[in-house]
């Protein structure tokens, strides 16, 4: 009896230690976002408040501008990625494509290479053609980096659609294009939405590419977080970080609802 009890106590302590390691850094961020004054040697903030939240959420504040820019860029990135990925995903899932596995790998490459060396050269070309420091330039960079999610997941979503349903529509006289828009696309929609969420988050959180291509005019939330943190303004940095954290954690909790097992098992094939 006592052995069982000590066993449980040891396990509980281990779980608590792990919780401290995983949640501790996030908790420290939350403390900072509500700390009006906090300095050595105090273990907790000297005075608490939401003054910095008011500064951040002031409609004319720099943070709201950054949030607007970030969301605009993320939405445009999703649009661009889906426009090119839906046809590509369909072709990869359903049509005979020469060198198919090589094409799949090409979309993975931007994620599988050290990015900084690529971005510095992209920034240089963008400067030459006049789209450095523009939203357009940042959107193109984000989309090229996020294509692996949109192409791979939409392709898996199309592959998971039952071919018999398409054939039934065709047998009743529907044209291939009509069949695609009324049968295939609606059935693949949950997977496509999941890929859109991946692309949206990837763009919202992207720092390195924006840092090189977007300077000095495009100021997204990650760039604001970076400059606030390096400038020693931990409250603004922490609140910005919290704004970025919320969609990430919501997605982590609900990802399985968007990505069903039948689609997930076909990703990357």
């Amino acid at each position: 009896m006592i052995r069982v009890l000590t066993g449980h106590v040891t396990r509980a302590l281990l779980l608590a230690a792990l919780a401290f390691v995983i949640i501790g850094p996030i908790a420290n961020l939350m403390l900072w976002s509500f700390a009006e004054r906090w300095y050595f040697p105090y273990k907790l903030p000297v005075s608490w408040g939401v003054r910095f939240w008011e500064i951040v959420f002031r409609p004319t504040g720099v943070a709201m501008q950054s949030l607007g820019t970030s969301v605009l860029i993320a939405l445009l990135t999703v649009a661009l990625a889906l426009i090119v990925s839906i046809p590509a995903g369909y072709a990869l899932a359903r049509l005979k494509l020469p060198l198919r596995s090589l094409v799949m790998i090409v979309f993975l490459l931007p994620q599988a290479f050290p990015g900084v060396a690529i971005y510095i050269n992209v920034a240089r070309f963008f400067y030459q053609i006049g789209i450095a420091g523009t939203v357009t330039g940042v959107v193109i960079v984000h989309a090229s980096h996020a294509l692996v999610y949109s192409v791979w997941i939409t392709s898996a979503a199309f592959a998971a659609v039952d071919r018999d349903l398409e054939n039934a529509a065709r047998n009743m006289g529907a044209s291939p294009l009509y069949t695609f828009f009324t049968v295939t696309l609606p059935l693949a929609a949950p997977g496509i939405i999941a890929s859109a969420i991946f692309v949206f988050l990837e763009s919202l959180d992207e720092f390195t590419g924006t840092y090189f291509v977007g300077v000095p005019t495009v100021n997204t939330l990650p760039l604001l977080l970076y400059s606030a943190s390096m400038g020693g303004n931990y409250q603004i940095a922490s609140i910005t970080a919290m704004i970025l954290l919320i969609p990430s954690i919501l997605f982590m909790l609900f990802v399985e609802r968007f990505l069903k097992a039948d689609v997930l098992s076909k990703v990357g094939r």
Binding site: A88, Y211, S248
Partner: protein, 279 residues
């Protein structure tokens, strides 16, 4: 048949063009720039010589951080996924499954800001140890150096590798594990000798993706450990921002491609061997 092939190529072309223009072309350009003499434009190794003279310590430092962080991430992921597969205490399984995924989608820059406060001399980690009486306030040290970078990388990447591993372990045939347990093997031994060899390829893919990701991150080394030595990503940004020196920056880039290439080679050699053994 040729008609459908043509259609397929047409449908893939826009997406492919985006990757070629924004990734393959800059990649080739960076290699060409790294191997050309900035004064004459001729083929030369002078940029690599300069990169080595200025940054040899940072090259070794980067390699150490990324290799050590990948190894620690793999160990932590094996421990978590292993317990999720072999564990027998229901409440601990529920708690662990709920807990371990939190950092999964947290951006690196947010992780860096979290650690910048958590690991500081007066951060929540040291303060908690002092409050528990484990540490004396005078003994506290800041972890905001190479240790901080290592901790941040492991914290951020472990859930990803653990998620892949736990998935692979869950789809294994339970009969082999039960057989080992019935023959008297402990759970740890069954994990190491029966489960791990079967999920080797998944662990390899997860580790390689983590390795390359960590090699590409700029925010963590800047924000968590500001001083010298630092990682190659920071040196590249500095070469561009301070000197506009694309040649040496691209030489450093090629060195980081080489580090990636070594891991890709290990992976390919292994999968070729597996295919040969399998057939």
């Amino acid at each position: 048949m040729t008609e459908s092939r043509g259609l397929a190529i047409l449908l893939v072309a826009p997406a492919l063009a985006l990757v070629i223009a924004l990734f393959l072309y800059p990649l080739l350009f960076s290699v060409a720039s790294a191997f050309s003499d900035p004064a004459t434009g001729e083929l030369s190794l002078i940029n690599f010589q300069k990169a080595y003279e200025l940054y040899s310590i940072d090259i070794a430092y980067t390699l150490f951080i990324v290799v050590a962080a990948t190894a620690l991430t793999a160990l932590a992921a094996i421990a978590i996924a292993g317990y999720l597969t072999m564990g027998e205490t229901p409440w601990l399984l529920t708690g662990l499954a709920w807990l371990y995924r939190w950092p999964l989608f947290i951006p690196f820059i947010v992780a860096a800001q979290c650690m910048r406060t958590f690991l500081a001399k007066n951060g929540l980690m040291n303060n908690s140890f002092v409050a528990m009486g484990v540490l004396d306030p005078a003994q506290t040290v800041s972890f905001l150096d190479w240790r901080g970078v290592l901790i941040t990388f492991v914290w951020k990447q472990t859930p990803f590798v653990a998620l892949l591993l736990a998935g692979a372990m869950a789809s294994l045939d339970r009969a082999t594990i039960e057989a080992a347990r019935n023959l008297g093997a402990s759970r740890l031994r069954a994990l190491i000798e029966v489960v791990l060899p079967q999920v080797g390829p998944t662990l390899m893919v997860g580790s390689i993706l983590s390795f390359v990701t960590m090699l590409s991150v700029l925010s963590v080394p800047v924000m968590v450990a500001g001083s010298q030595p630092t990682m190659l990503t920071v040196d590249m940004a500095f070469r561009i921002n301070a000197y506009g020196d694309y040649n040496v920056a691209n030489a450093l880039g090629v060195i980081s491609y080489l580090m990636t290439a070594v891991t890709a080679w290990i992976y390919l050699r292994r999968s070729v061997r597996e295919q040969r053994d399998g057939s």
